[in-house]
């Protein structure tokens, strides 16, 4: 290399170094100034909502979208976020299609293009899991409304909060109910079968049930069948025949899509099998399920249903229920309720933070302490532990009796005597 060229190259390198050092110094000294602070006027707060608006779970997502938008409308009509000078809340809803890869891409879009200040989502555990990584990387708070897979709050994420409970907590309820009701009714069950479809949620629930059953103090029932089938199936006769031949006393069944829940019920009736107790979660917890199978839905026990019993002596919660059904004409299902709670946490946190700066907002969410009176579901409130999990979410167990979800457990909340064991199909006619 010629000396002249060498000296030019050195000059360029020196220039680059000087510029880089100057930029770094400027960032250190002035960085805080360009970031939004509590004194910055905020025109609007953008809340990204990730939910399935197409695909098999669109019914759930449509309700969630309606609730999020209704909440924003209500806040805006009452003067917006007061601590932000009346900033309006804008909800930007993105469709996950119930697919992990779509949810992840939509989360990235909400963060990078829509510049949302926080995200609420994404119903399916299988979608929330990869999509929330985008928010964690970007340093944007994520309030998980529904996804109940236990691992979600065990990842050590700093920006992830879950208002709903998780399946470790919920799974235990099933065994506690079984124990309580057997004692109460003087019956003893020995055998159990587990049924699930293949979503991350269903697999999570089933593995928690199976883990608990291994403990003789909690479960200890002899497993006589396990039926894991694809979701969105056209026929379940073979699966129902497996159950009929195994003849378990207890069947624990998790199925997310409502059509699957309807098909299971119709098929069990066709093969003429109903266990002494059928306990479910997922698609069985919706009014559309009861509408689909009518009286055949009776005696199924499960969690996650919105029962009118929840509103007894809780007029504020009933008001929310009435307001939503009146304004939208949609079913107020449990995912609508969790979306309401997540929006409540978001708005409360924004008010307390008085800022849309991510760290301040994150801290405000972490400090959330909402009382039971503000809850639409019969929770004790919302308060997050160090993993971001709400410690107050509970889910009472209900039984379908005369075509309605009626709370039967815990006993303190019971409003009607449970039918236990359930009658067989023949005994019902």
């Amino acid at each position: 290399m010629k000396p002249e060229k060498k000296s030019n190259l050195l000059k360029i390198i020196a220039l680059v170094v000087v510029v880089a050092v100057a930029a770094a110094v400027a960032l250190v000294f002035f960085g805080g100034v360009v970031q939004p602070t509590s004194t910055t006027r905020v025109e609007e707060v953008r809340i990204g909502v990730l939910t399935p608006l197409s695909g098999g779970a669109a019914y759930f997502g449509e309700g969630q979208k309606a609730m999020a938008e209704l909440m924003a409308k209500k806040v805006n009509s009452e003067g917006g976020i007061k601590s932000l000078g009346g900033a309006k809340v804008r909800v930007i809803v993105a469709d996950t299609e119930g697919k992990p890869e779509v949810g992840k891409a939509q989360a990235a879009r909400l963060i990078n293009e829509e510049k949302v200040h926080l995200i609420i989502g994404a119903l399916h555990s299988g979608v929330t899991s990869p999509a929330s990584i985008e928010a964690e990387r970007a340093g944007i708070p994520w309030i998980c409304e529904t996804s109940s897979h236990p691992e979600l709050t065990k990842r050590g994420f700093k920006w992830f909060f879950r208002v709903w409970g998780h399946d470790e907590i919920f799974a235990r309820q099933y065994f506690e109910l079984l124990k309580d009701l057997q004692q109460e009714k003087g019956v003893k069950f020995n055998t159990i079968a587990f049924v699930s479809e293949e979503s991350l949620f269903a697999i999570g629930v089933r593995s928690e049930w199976e883990k608990l059953n291994l403990d003789p103090n909690i479960g200890g029932y002899r497993v006589v069948a396990r039926v894991n089938h694809p979701s969105g199936v056209k026929d379940l006769t073979s699966e129902a025949l497996i159950l009929k031949q195994a003849n378990p006393d207890i069947v624990l069944m998790v199925n997310t899509p409502i059509p699957d829940a309807i098909l299971w019920t119709q098929t069990l009736k066709r093969v003429d099998f109903f266990p002494k107790v059928l306990m479910t979660t997922g698609g069985f917890s919706f009014k559309a399920y009861i509408d689909g199978v009518g009286a055949d839905s009776n005696y199924i026990i499960g969690r996650g249903a919105v029962s009118m019993d929840m509103f007894t002596n809780r007029p504020a919660a009933k008001e929310v229920y009435d307001w939503f059904t009146r304004e939208t004409g949609k079913e107020f299902h449990v995912y609508v309720a969790t979306m309401y709670t997540a929006m409540l946490v978001a708005i409360d946190s924004l008010e307390r933070a008085g800022s849309v700066e991510p760290e301040k907002l994150r801290q405000a969410i972490a400090d959330t302490n909402l009382p039971a009176e503000k809850m639409v579901l019969p929770w004790q409130g919302v308060k997050f532990d160090s993993t971001g999990q709400n410690v107050y979410a509970v889910d009472p167990m209900s039984q379908i009796i005369n075509g309605e979800f009626r709370i039967v457990w815990p006993k303190s909340s019971r409003v009607i005597e449970p039918v236990f064991p359930a009658p067989s199909w023949k005994e019902r006619t």
Partner: protein, 316 residues
């Protein structure tokens, strides 16, 4: 009780699961129940596949909108039942005729313009049609799940543990009747012969005075009519939402490839084979594998007999 399941179905600690047999015992009663169920499921696949393959055999058009037309027929059945109280069984000829006209119109107003165009244009057109119909349904009736709660649905004939439900029996009977009628139509009527002639050589058929557009529109009408019959039958035993089309589309393609693209009888046979495989795989091995095994079989067929199980084409 232990013979009912085996640990290969479970993957959980063996202390909990008794391992006596790897394959569950199958009593004659269970076998018959599975067999009858295989006939039902096979009928649906056969009807959906036969319609799709008929259209392909004649027009060389891969109709991605086929399954959503079936779902539209399910909605039609639901509304006729819920509003007018008409039983799905009685609607069968109405559904077929109405959707024949729909298929005919789809050809005349849409497909006609792409039938000679490259494959990509055809795919985009029919895929576009699928999305338009699917989201129109979502806009009109949301994503709610609907069920035909007809008292007929719950009628089950039982004998010594063997059961056949009325909707399943009706589906099988209708499939059998329609397959035979359509076969007769294609073999023995002028239009049927014109369809086969066009499938064999469109240019030669044209020289002989057969108008391709007429044949193509009749074919699309017939294919759509078959999809409607499948939808009509399915509405009695399956709940309805806009997205169940996706569930059937994949299997319809497996059926027509397995049966030999464009082979009407091949599609019906493949429909029953897949129905049986699904039902027996789920019971004997693992429900999770029931969709995978037909796909595995498809791969083997593509390797060893790529022309499909039946090589005799519609045109022959």
């Amino acid at each position: 009780m232990a013979q009912v399941f085996s640990s290969h179905r479970t993957g959980v600690p063996s202390t909990v699961v008794e391992r006596k047999n790897m394959i569950p015992a199958i009593s004659p009663t269970i076998f018959l129940n599975l067999l009858f169920n295989g006939f039902f499921l096979g009928s649906i696949y056969a009807l959906v596949g036969a319609g799709l393959t008929l259209v392909f055999g004649v027009t060389r058009l891969v109709n991605f909108a086929h399954s959503i037309l079936m779902v539209s027929a399910m909605y039609f059945t639901y509304y006729m039942w819920s509003v007018l109280g008409l039983e799905p069984f009685l609607l069968l000829p109405v559904s077929f005729t109405l959707f024949f006209i729909v298929g005919f119109a789809i050809y005349r107003f849409l497909v006609k313009f792409v039938v000679d165009k490259p494959f990509s244009s055809q795919v985009l057109t029919t895929l576009g049609l699928l999305l338009i119909i699917q989201y129109s349904i979502v806009m009109l009736w949301t994503s709610n799940t609907y069920t035909v709660n007809s008292p007929w649905r719950d009628i089950v004939f039982r004998l010594d543990g063997v059961f056949v439900s009325l909707p399943h029996l009706a589906t099988f009977s209708a499939t059998l009747a329609i397959s035979v009628l359509l076969y007769y139509f294609l073999k023995n009527t002028y239009t049927g012969r014109a369809i086969r002639a066009t499938a064999q050589d469109p240019e030669a058929a044209k020289i002989l005075g057969i108008e391709p557009d007429y044949v193509y529109s009749i074919s699309l009408g017939l294919g759509t009519g078959l999809a409607a019959v499948a939808g009509n039958m399915l509405a009695m035993s399956y709940s309805i939402d806009p997205y169940i089309a996706d569930v059937f589309l994949v299997m319809a393609f497996v059926v027509i490839i397995m049966g030999g693209m464009g082979n009407y009888m091949g599609a019906i046979m493949a429909g029953y084979i897949i129905g049986m495989i699904e039902v027996f795989t789920a019971f004997l091995f693992m429900p999770l594998l029931k969709h995978a095994v037909p796909l595995l079989l498809l791969i083997l067929i593509l390797i060893f007999k790529p022309e499909g199980l039946l090589t005799k084409r519609l045109r022959d």
